[in-house]
């Protein structure tokens, strides 16, 4: 097999029959959340696969914050996200959440809450709650964070399960404004076309 590309030829491509590959691509799953501006809430941007939290964070940074602006990013293992039931229409998830009884038993942890407020869109950060369990946290949100708009689904994450950027990490996004070459506006050429047509 002779390629037009000298670099491909130097690779000395393997030419054996197509066979199955070694099963090495099933890395762990993480969900990524990002904040575009300081005063904006974090929202879910998508998943990444990685062998550990640190690599998931680095991958997420490349995948979801290489353009425009970013002021914060965090990843959490997908299996550590508690997902509520889903509702539809005007029915809110909070209709299905009951008070689990004893609210405070001394040992509390913090939990991050995310609401799905529009079907088809992403989950958005709502608030942080101190509670003894995810279930208790849910029952507390009911009184603290909801208004009359329906919430279709809730994600709840233990804060300690999150790998998040810190204030001093924000410099990783300092160079974003210099990367104009990643944006369409850097490739204006209307003048060139006009000039070309005039020459014809």
């Amino acid at each position: 097999m002779e390629s037009l590309d000298p670099r491909v030829n130097r690779l000395n491509l393997s030419t054996t029959e197509l066979t199955s590959k070694a099963p090495l691509d099933q890395l762990g799953t993480y969900e990524v959340f990002s904040q575009l501006k300081e005063d904006k809430p974090y929202f879910h941007v998508g998943p990444v696969h990685a062998p550990n939290c640190e690599m998931a964070f680095l991958f997420a940074k490349e995948q979801f914050s290489r353009r425009q602006t970013c002021t914060g990013l965090f990843v959490v293992e997908t299996r550590n996200i508690k997902v509520s039931v889903f509702t539809e229409g005007e029915d809110t998830v909070y209709n299905y959440i009951s008070n689990p009884g004893e609210l405070a038993n001394g040992n509390t942890e913090s939990f991050e809450l995310f609401h799905l407020k529009k079907r088809g869109k992403q989950h958005e950060y709502i608030g942080t709650i101190e509670a003894s369990s995810a279930e208790v946290a849910l029952s507390m949100v009911k009184s603290e964070f909801i208004n009359d708009k329906p919430v279709y689904n809730i994600w709840i994450i233990k804060t300690s399960d999150i790998e998040s950027s810190q204030d001093e990490d924000k410099i990783i996004w300092d160079t974003l404004p210099d990367k104009k070459f990643r944006d369409a506006i850097a490739y204006k050429a209307a003048d060139k076309i006009k000039e070309f047509k005039e020459r014809q």
């Binding site: 491909v8 090495l24 691509d25 998508g46 990444v48 062998p51 997908t78 369409a184 490739y187 047509k197």
Partner: protein, 328 residues
């Protein structure tokens, strides 16, 4: 669906008689109302199967599509072009990541999809089985192949499956850079020296037939997928997509003083549709079934990367985490 061709399996029996009629009616009503279907919602088997197939092929096309352009990075003329092309290729590989994840939410594992690309079971967009001889070919791909992809992707972003639509929204935002960058490259060639114009015209001549194949077989011969249209899996017929592309880009090619190698190409002002010489669908079939100029090379490059990078992934195997399907 990077290219519309051969994306859907021929539906012999749609299997709908095995689905719960009440749930099916609710599902169809939801789509009719314009609501998105989410991973945990009820969906017919056929919907799931065809979506996996389509999204997976789209993901493979991003990976394989990065190869012909990727090899031009070191030979791109000048620092700015190298920087831009590198950014574009990175985007394309990123698109594959987003798309694999969307397909995973439907239940096919990432492992299986990547394996099916390497073992030759899955298809990818046929156009990437053609070679990029010169820098002008790379310019053609960046502008016009991406333009074709954008026609498909914008349509599919209005489809019914939530995770695919959200991935496509991110992808389309990045594609606008690809399109502008590619157009910029072609304009530069068009307004350059005589030699540059010749190179660009030669690239257009080479790529026009595969570009016409890009949207898949003509509606006259392709399987009608009425049900997939109703479910908003397929958002337009192959001919509609092709017509949209011609309508948007033929004038832009002509504007730069280039010709298109089809003497029958013209817009019928009465019907509003473009007329052209029927593309060679036999060649299309032959190439998609493995006998194109670059099929072997593309898969061999991918597989060599897999084999030679194996030690890295072995070193990464740290079973502290768990693979599960992404949430949304």
């Amino acid at each position: 669906m990077y290219g519309g061709g051969n994306t859907f399996e021929h539906i012999k029996s749609n299997g709908l008689e095995n689905e719960d009629p009440e749930k099916l009616a609710q599902f169809e009503a939801r789509i009719e109302r314009g609501e998105k279907i989410e991973p945990n919602d009820w969906m017919p088997q056929l919907y799931r199967k065809q979506l996996i197939r389509m999204i997976e092929q789209h993901a493979h096309s991003e990976i394989i599509g990065a190869l012909p352009e990727g090899t031009w990075i070191t030979r791109a003329p000048g620092f700015k072009r190298k920087l831009a092309l590198m950014a574009k290729v990175q985007d394309e590989v990123g698109h594959a990541q987003l798309l694999y994840s969307a397909a995973e939410t439907l239940g096919k594992s990432r492992e299986q999809m990547i394996d099916d690309l390497i073992n030759g079971k899955s298809k990818y967009s046929n156009i990437f089985n053609y070679p990029a001889f010169t820098w002008a070919d790379s310019c053609f791909i960046s502008w016009l192949v991406d333009a074709g992809a954008i026609v498909n992707q914008l349509a599919n972003a209005r489809g019914s499956y939530g995770p695919y639509c959200r991935a496509l929204d991110r992808i389309c935002a990045e594609e606008s850079f690809h399109l502008k960058y590619g157009h910029h490259c072609v304009i530069h060639m068009a307004t350059g020296t005589e030699k540059q114009r010749e190179m660009m015209q030669a690239a257009i001549n080479r790529w026009w037939p595969p570009m016409m194949h890009f949207f898949g077989p003509s509606d006259k011969i392709s399987v009608h997928s009425e049900i997939l249209m109703r479910w908003k899996v397929k958002m337009g017929s192959n001919d509609d997509m092709r017509n949209q592309f011609l309508d948007m880009y033929v004038p832009k090619i002509w504007e730069l003083g280039f010709t298109i190698p089809d003497e029958n190409l013209r817009k019928n002002e009465v019907t509003g549709r473009w007329e052209y010489t029927e593309p060679d669908w036999e060649e299309f079939k032959r190439v998609i079934n493995g006998d194109g100029p670059c099929n072997k090379e593309r898969l061999a490059v991918r597989r060599t990367a897999e084999e030679r990078g194996r030690w890295v992934r072995e070193a990464l195997l740290a079973p502290k985490t768990e693979y599960v399907a992404p949430l949304a």
